[in-house]
Structure formats: structure tokens, C-alpha cells
Point group: C2
DNA sequence: AAGGAACATTCTAATACTCGAATACTGGAA
DNA sequence: TTCCAGTATTCGAGTATTAGAATGTTCCTT
């Protein structure tokens, strides 16, 4: 059970198209930096920056293999949630004013001094 | 099926502690601004700003009732995902270097000109 | 009408984020 | 050794986000 602050930080970290694309890719299996870079068509340094950001929260991690760094998803549950988020339909549901009115009136009834 | 860009924007929008707290509250039922403000102990103007941000993506909406504005979750599926995210445990899963190595070597085998 | 409660809007300063450019580091092949 | 592929780091400028202060609007009550 994390604080809202921590969860918010995590969501904000996830909220970048390149980082989402990286997660999407790594969800299919480990991959080295150059391959990620070519897949996303983003400069290598920038990929590294985003990988560092993702690593800072342990969303991804890597293994060294020669001079390759094979990145992989370090928190599968989190990646799964993200994938679900990417796919999920979240349509707007209209609610009748009457229904809202019934539930949502002022809680504190103007307490005098 | 939205673009990564749109999804990233949405995640970034969700990635703020006050906005998460608002969503958390509204997930329990509609509520007017002053009640939200008192619950969160955040200045009213700031609450309004965050509500406006959430409304810009139709995450919340409101009904007018006198001079009250009863805000409510406009996309229940989305709110449900957010709540799940707040609760979910996403532990780091260690992977053996051998396992990663097996899967993650270089895809392009250095094609010469 | 007049006043106040409820809420929104605008502006601003501070802070945070992002990217590109340049450069550094490292291991393996030659 | 030397060189190169693969990757990381640092820095700076441009941009976006945020909170607070101040003020505006609207509706209700009296």
C-alpha cells in the first residue's frame, strides 16, 4: 500500500509515449538498447535517458552480456497493468442530473460559529 | 484503441497526488467542490484547477445544483483501473542473467554495407 | 437590493521535464 | 594496442506544470 504521492510519481513516470513504447516492447521479451532504439526510431542517447528513468523506479532492469545491455521488465505485474490500460476502453458514461443530485449535495450543512 | 501519445497524456494527467485523491474520493460517489476541498485540505482555487484538468479529459464531470457543482466520475472503467493501480502490489521479480541472456541478444547481426 | 457562499479564472514565479548535442566509458575483435 | 560498436552521462535551452494570490461570477438568502 503506497502513498498517493508515490503512486502519482509512478504514473507520471509512465506517462510518456517513448517510455510506454519501451515497456510495450519489453513486455514481449528482453531486448538490448540498440534494438529498442531502432524499433522506436528515437536517438540512442534519448533511449538511454528513458531507460534510466524507468530503471530509477525499477520498472525495468538489465543484464550485461558483453557490451550489450539486455533490458527486461522488472515488475511484470506493473507492466501487465500498463498493457491493460493501453487496451482498455473507458467510455464516458452519462449520468442523469437527478441521480447526481440525489447523491451529491453539500455534506457540511453550514456550521455557524 | 488510442495512440501511445494519448495514453501517455492521460497517465501524466492522472499522475498527481491531488488528482488521484480527487478520483479516489469521487469513486465513492458524487461530491461538491467545497467538500472535496475540506477533505483534501487543499485551497479551493487549486482544487478547481485540478478539477478543470480532470474535466478536460472527461475523467470527471459535474452537474449544477443551485450554486453547488456536484462532481462525479465520468469514466467509471478508468476510475476502476486507477483504483486497481493504487492497490496492486507490483513487486520486483529477479531474473537470472542466463534467462535474460538467452532471450535478449542483438537482433540485427551487424549488416555490412 | 445586498451580502455571502460556492466555485472559476487569470496571472505569475518557481520548479520540473524533455530533448539534442557533445562527450565519456567499456568490452571485444583485429 | 587500437579501433569500433554499444551504451551512458552531462549540460543547456526550450517548454510544460504547479501552486498561490488576487479577483471574477453566480446563485441563494434575507
Amino acid at each position: 500500500m503506497n502513498s498517493l504521492r508515490e503512486n502519482a510519481d509512478l504514473l507520471r513516470l509512465l506517462g510518456h509515449p517513448t517510455r510506454l513504447a519501451i515497456i510495450q516492447r519489453l513486455a514481449k521479451g528482453p531486448q538490448c538498447v540498440t534494438d529498442i532504439q531502432e524499433l522506436l526510431d528515437v536517438p540512442q542517447a534519448n533511449v538511454s535517458q528513458h531507460l534510466m528513468a524507468l530503471r530509477s523506479r525499477r520498472i525495468v532492469d538489465y543484464c550485461e552480456h558483453g557490451n550489450l545491455r539486455c533490458y527486461y521488465i522488472a515488475r511484470p505485474n506493473l507492466a501487465k497493468l500498463v498493457m491493460k490500460f493501453l487496451v482498455e476502453e473507458c467510455p464516458v458514461v452519462e449520468r442523469s442530473p437527478a441521480e447526481i443530485k440525489r447523491l451529491g449535495s453539500r455534506a457540511r450543512p453550514v456550521v455557524p460559529a
